[in-house]
């Protein structure tokens, strides 16, 4: 049981190499690009100036989108947490033989393209989608209820993408908790609910905090659900970057927005880590 703090790092070294080549180097390029100038002709001119950043903060337009993104991300995290904890806890407690099968169902969405999964909501929620069709047919409504192209639809799209991550993170954490702990608590006088609150819930916090962080970060970087399911007011920061880089080919400005988002996420992750401690996950890994 000797603690070897370097053990996880050793195990991670192949992935760290990949991360370095595929992530760190491209990020350096993006940072460099964000200081370049864009000539009116559309040419990118190497430079070192903060014009792109100044443009972002020049008025409220861009910062508001950034704040909206964070708000949507927090809402998504919250709903995923509630919706994810329940099945994770069920998997932890159940002795059903169907458990492996049900676990596969949780991962099933990963087998289908994200775009297709997102687009399929249009067939369900759209004006001529399944729900409206049925309601119209049954005569309950006379004109379709608009359910798409608002924030609710965006969040729904995000949840169906991110929920499995939350469930799996929480489940992994729960699975490591000895069931006799809750039994001990109950034998000492706790009701089922008190035992959960006093023992199981606090011990599952590493998984909860890892799941929340993952969902938050992934939401901040996602552009497909807002693009497909959102309305004009539901743009998120990643859509903005997408539009700049792919739409107007304005690489320097797109890069600057990316760098701002990246910095913000780094600050958030760092602060979060200090108070919630993903380090805990590392610790429990190196103890094993």
């Amino acid at each position: 049981m000797k603690e070897k703090p370097w053990k996880p790092w050793l195990l991670l070294s192949p992935s760290l190499t990949a991360v370095f080549l595929l992530l760190v180097i491209p990020v350096c390029f993006v940072v460099v690009y964000s200081f370049w100038l864009r000539a009116p002709s559309g040419q990118d001119i190497p430079a070192f100036q903060f014009g792109n950043y100044a443009k972002f903060f020049a008025d409220f337009f861009y910062p508001v989108i950034l704040l909206n993104t964070i708000r949507v991300a927090l809402e998504t995290v919250f709903i995923c947490l509630i919706m994810g904890y329940i099945p994770a806890y069920f998997f932890y407690r159940t002795e059903s033989r169907l458990k492996p099968f049900l676990m596969i169902l949780v991962m099933l969405p990963f087998w289908i393209s994200f775009i297709i999964r997102t687009l399929s909501w249009i067939n369900i929620l759209g004006d001529s989608g399944l729900i409206n069709h049925l309601l119209l047919k049954s005569g309950l409504i006379s004109s379709p209820i608009p359910m798409l192209y608002n924030e609710g639809a965006v969040i729904m799209g995000l949840i169906q993408y991110l929920l499995p991550f939350m469930i799996l993170n929480i489940y992994v954490s729960l699975d490591g908790i000895d069931k006799s702990l809750a039994e001990a608590a109950k034998s000492l006088g706790c009701t089922e609910w008190q035992a959960f609150r006093e023992v199981t819930l606090p011990l599952s916090m590493p998984g909860v905090s890892a799941g929340c962080l993952l969902v938050f970060v992934l939401t901040c970087g996602t552009y497909l659900p807002p693009m497909i399911l959102g309305g004009p007011g539901n743009e998120m920061i990643a859509n903005l970057i997408f539009k700049r880089v792919i739409g107007t080919l304005d690489w320097p400005f797109g890069s600057a927005i990316s760098v701002i988002l990246l910095l913000l996420l780094v600050i958030i992750v760092y602060t979060y880590n200090r108070y919630m401690g993903i380090n805990q996950i590392f610790k429990s890994l190196s103890k094993g």
Partner: protein
């Protein structure tokens, strides 16, 4: 204080537990006397844990009733049963300090803050670990953690203390110490204790009463000496200690209660029966390895009314104070004999006699 002890403080009546088709605990009755230390002993999968968990309220009996102090508790939820449970893996709450661990059960009882502090400190002293209250469970050794688990269970003054193989996660030396400690503690507190183990030495050394189980059935129950010396069947005799089994056929029954039986090689042997036998009935003799005495021919004056076997030492292992011999007797059967070393131990290939009192040759039904 001299109130008579309740002989059925805990009472299982017709209790049975099935998991689907599997019968984990066969219908059984069992009484646990007040203040006693009772061990459930048996091989893996015999239903010990299941029986204990039904008493704890962690498992619902399929059939039958459980009583504590004469009150039926089948429908009492676990948190109202006032039982102290000790688990094999300690089950300390890793996110709470030792103090909070021990105080845990008191939080759900009517105990003031100061009283709680006193009780926790006293419990920590009882398990000889005062002053560790501020530490976390992971900072204690296995033995210390198990003692904290003990403190946590006794601090609530439970009606019954339940322990499921509490020592099996400890290493050999520590186990011995903890065994004595638990034993002393139980005597000091006088709390009715049910202890589950598959280690016969634990069971024999600690208990007032041993309940031997197999395949969900109770095989025998009684005081350790009783169960050890007067094992009622092959399984119990085999499970406890080192036993030799010889096939036998009843020849004549004698007035003094000793039977004459024929062994496989045709020789006659005297044995004391467990139960009634008919003439000609096929049976089995069990002899404990420690109850036989080895000697050279010249050492023994053949006495009337004693059993003698002639044989050759095939193998021996020296175990410090005593030596374990395997002696080959007629038709190649090996007898396991454990004797104290008197002068020098017998050697391989030595020709020896084995003497055994008919009282220790117990005739069992097949």
């Amino acid at each position: 204080m001299t109130q008579a002890k309740d002989p059925a403080f805990v009472r299982f009546k017709g209790i049975e537990k099935r998991f689907g088709d599997l019968v984990a605990v066969q219908p059984m009755d069992l009484n646990i006397p007040e203040g006693s230390f009772v061990t459930l002993l048996g091989p893996s999968g015999c239903g010990k844990t299941t029986l204990l968990r039904m008493l704890a309220g962690l498992e619902n009996p399929t059939r039958g009733d459980i009583f504590i102090k004469g009150k039926r508790i089948n429908d009492t939820p676990i948190h109202k049963r006032n039982l102290g449970m000790i688990f094999q893996n300690y089950a300390l709450f890793p996110h709470k300090t030792i103090f909070d661990n021990v105080a845990f059960g008191l939080k759900y009882r009517d105990v003031s803050k100061t009283e709680m502090k006193e009780k926790v400190e006293k419990a920590l002293e009882t398990v000889r670990l005062p002053g560790v209250g501020n530490r976390m469970p992971s900072q204690l050794s296995g033995g210390q953690q198990q003692r904290i688990a003990l403190a946590r269970a006794i601090v609530i003054e439970p009606d019954v203390l339940l322990m499921d193989e509490p020592l099996s996660a400890l290493d050999e030396n520590l186990r011995e110490d903890m065994r004595r400690e638990i034993d002393n503690l139980q005597m000091e507190l006088g709390v009715t204790t049910i202890f589950v183990t598959h280690d016969q030495r634990e069971a024999l050394s600690m208990s007032d009463k041993v309940v031997v189980m197999k395949d969900g059935f109770i095989q025998q129950q009684g005081e350790p000496e009783e169960v050890y010396n007067n094992s009622v069947n092959h399984f119990v005799a085999d499970f406890l200690g080192h036993s030799n089994f010889l096939a036998a056929q009843v020849k004549t029954t004698r007035k003094d209660g000793i039977y004459e039986v024929a062994l496989a090689d045709g020789s006659t042997c005297l044995a004391s029966p467990v139960g009634d036998f008919e003439q000609g009935e096929k049976a089995e003799i069990v002899i404990r390895a420690q109850k036989m005495t080895l000697g050279y021919q010249k050492d023994f004056v053949q006495e009337e009314g004693m059993n003698y076997f002639y044989g050759k030492i095939k193998d021996r292992s020296y175990m410090g104070g005593e030596v374990s011999y395997f002696v080959e007797i007629a038709d190649g059967q090996l007898l396991h004999v454990i004797n104290f070393v008197k002068r020098s131990p017998y050697r391989r290939k030595d020709e020896v006699y084995i003497r055994v009192d008919p009282f220790h040759c117990r005739l069992l039904k097949q």
